[in-house]
């Protein structure tokens, strides 16, 4: 039965059409800004630029994650279904990561070349993005889940979530220079995969329970 749910998840995201691509365009445009601003020596901080752009792109695509479920009342039915909410939320987060964050990773080598990055650095950069973006999605989803009840659209999500993005950014960018922090990033990923879906369901239940 879960397969039909996943199938419909994918159908629904494909039906959203062009808006799936906007974070990708946002990502590329931000990265292209830096060479204009800093000129050629953008190459020195290129991994940092790509990482900050990825972080902002994820943040942009995350804050309306649960608002649609909340407004239409789907959240109540997700809660009432025999599947545990953690399962359903994990499916939703996985499909969200595939549609929004995976394209960023796929396109990042092209942008790396744009910033004159040598190929081995691009390879490690892609690995760090592969390990890091799920953590970004998970923490962003937690912030989005906490804010489902709030009507006025405020810039609260970045303020709430960015403190938790800082460690990911530190380990992600430093993994390129010192290989020692790549396992740390992996540990952070495993930790957040283990604990955050549960916390997201609690946040959703708190939102529904008022």
């Amino acid at each position: 039965m879960l397969l039909t749910l996943i199938r419909y998840d994918i159908i629904r995201t494909l039906r959203r059409g062009f808006s799936v691509v906007t974070p990708l365009l946002f990502f590329t445009m931000i990265i292209c800004l830096f060479p204009f601003a800093i000129g050629d020596n953008a190459r020195l901080i290129a991994p940092g630029i790509i990482w900050v752009a990825a972080l902002l792109a994820v943040l942009l695509s995350i804050d309306t994650l649960f608002t649609k479920e909340w407004e239409t009342g789907c959240l109540d039915h997700l809660l009432l279904s025999p599947y545990s909410l953690t399962q359903l939320v994990s499916i939703k987060l996985l499909s969200h990561w595939i549609t929004y964050s995976l394209p960023l990773i796929i396109i990042s080598p092209v942008l790396g070349l744009l910033l004159h990055l040598p190929p081995p650095v691009i390879k490690t950069l892609m690995i760090t993005l592969l390990l890091g973006t799920p953590v970004l999605t998970l923490f962003g989803a937690l912030g989005a889940a906490l804010m489902i009840g709030i009507r006025e659209n405020s810039v609260l999500l970045p303020i709430l979530i960015l403190p938790f993005y800082i460690p990911v950014l530190i380990f992600g960018t430093s993994a390129i220079t010192t290989p020692g922090s790549l396992p740390l990033l992996g540990a952070l990923l495993l930790f957040s995969i283990a604990t955050l879906p549960f916390l997201i369901t609690q946040a959703l239940k708190i939102g529904v329970d008022t």
């Binding site: 039909t4 159908i11 629904r12 009342g73 789907c74 109540d76 025999p82 529904v208």
Partner: protein
Amino acid sequence: MSLSIDNLSFSRDERCLFDNITAILQPGQWCDVRGANGSGKSTLLRVLAGLIKPDNGHVTLPPFHYIGHALGLQPTLTVFEQIDWQSALLNEKIKKDALHDAIDLVGLTSMKNAFTTQLSAGQQRRLRFAILHLIPRPLWILDEPYTALDVSAQHVLHSLIEAHLQKKNRAIIATHHAMKINIPPAHTIQLEGQSCY
């Protein structure tokens, strides 16, 4: 499976919505929840459905269907896919022709491939009724099922509820005015939204 509610009470922001509500429903009976707007009807039903934890009190329910004010339909799915998705959510395997019969029963045959957003509020509620009919559950919890229904839709609702009760099932319905069905409610819970102090 027994259905018992014993001394349920809930207060929100220091305003007591309801206090020690007790009710037992035998198979084939239905319970009516009455009260003015904002007297906590929807909250009581959401507490019964388990979406809201009551301050104290205990509820035991058989498996149930819950329809609230917001119908919980995915906007970007067609009518056919919507029912398929909702039944997958309830982990129920349904045959395609049973699905088509349900859509015909509630009168949405012409809109089978229309998106849920293109449906009117009444038609969306008919879609919910199709799911009620398709997946049998011993208890229905309906929150003001009458909103936005035209005459033919009300007729469909009455026949569904009567068939449901005849099959020894139970229902808890929050309404404004009397339900025009032939079986009288076994219990009526009147909510005034009194203050707790």
